[in-house]
């Protein structure tokens, strides 16, 4: 640590987002708020992937009519694309399961819909 401790604001924003998401998942009982917490966790991880690949003063890694300059890294952007699509698919499946649980047990409280007791 010869140059001191760097004060990276984007990485701090990612840490705060993941911390808030974990607090929501642990403490809430309503099922829809739980799904919101999972969605904030997915957004925080996508933001972390993109900010890992930024070069200072860089342009987009595309060669059509590009201005002169160094390019940012293209691999984290490709991984983020995959991650966003997977998050959308999981969100659709979770919401349709919540609709089914509401139709069978009559409430969206996670304490009232336990079937394995005792």
């Amino acid at each position: 640590m010869t140059q001191g401790i760097p004060f990276n604001i984007p990485f701090l924003a990612v840490a705060v987002m993941i911390g808030i998401a974990f607090y929501i998942i642990i403490s809430q009982r309503n099922l829809i708020k739980l799904v919101m917490g999972l969605s904030i966790l997915a957004s925080g991880v996508n933001l972390f992937l993109i900010t890992l690949g930024y070069r200072k003063g860089g342009v987009a890694p595309i060669y059509t009519h590009t201005p002169a300059g160094i390019m940012v890294l293209p691999i984290p952007q490709a991984l983020t694309l995959t991650s966003i699509v997977i998050a959308v698919a999981c969100l659709a499946l979770m919401l349709s399961m919540i609709i089914h649980i509401y139709r069978h047990t009559g409430s969206t409280d996670s304490e009232k819909s336990r079937i394995m007791k005792g």
């Binding site: 987009a60 595309i62 060669y63 059509t64 002169a68 699509v85 659709a92 349709s96 609709i99």
Partner: protein, 153 residues
Amino acid sequence: MMSKIVRTMASLLILFALIYGLYIIMHGHLTPGGGFQGGAVFASGVALLIVAFGSDNVHKSLKEHHLSILESSGALIFIGLAFGGIATVFFYNFLVGSSLFGHIPPPGSNPGDIWTAGVIPFMNIAVGLKVLAGLSAILLVMALATTLMEVEE
């Protein structure tokens, strides 16, 4: 089913949404975009139709059986293209340098040429069909289920 102004404008705007989505899919190897993004743009156009006309009217023309055939054909085309270059390796780009889509662009900044990039435009079309059909099927099925739940209880 909303008012007459909304229905007229929605049936006009679905055309522009379809053209915009297909443009983003086809130019995936030259500009930012590609298969996934173009499919999502088209699915938002279908969402506009469902909100403006009601899900029962849309279900008369767009059944989920036809969407399932479209999605399966997209997946089969993608796997068929992956097996095309099996002589070297599994995902080999076997059309670079040949006659179809085989030009090589000059290095550095250039105006884009659409007949480049080998197997990648076909893969963009296959993945675009898959995402388009999949997201439209999810939207249609969930919108139909809400009208049914009002009838049952």
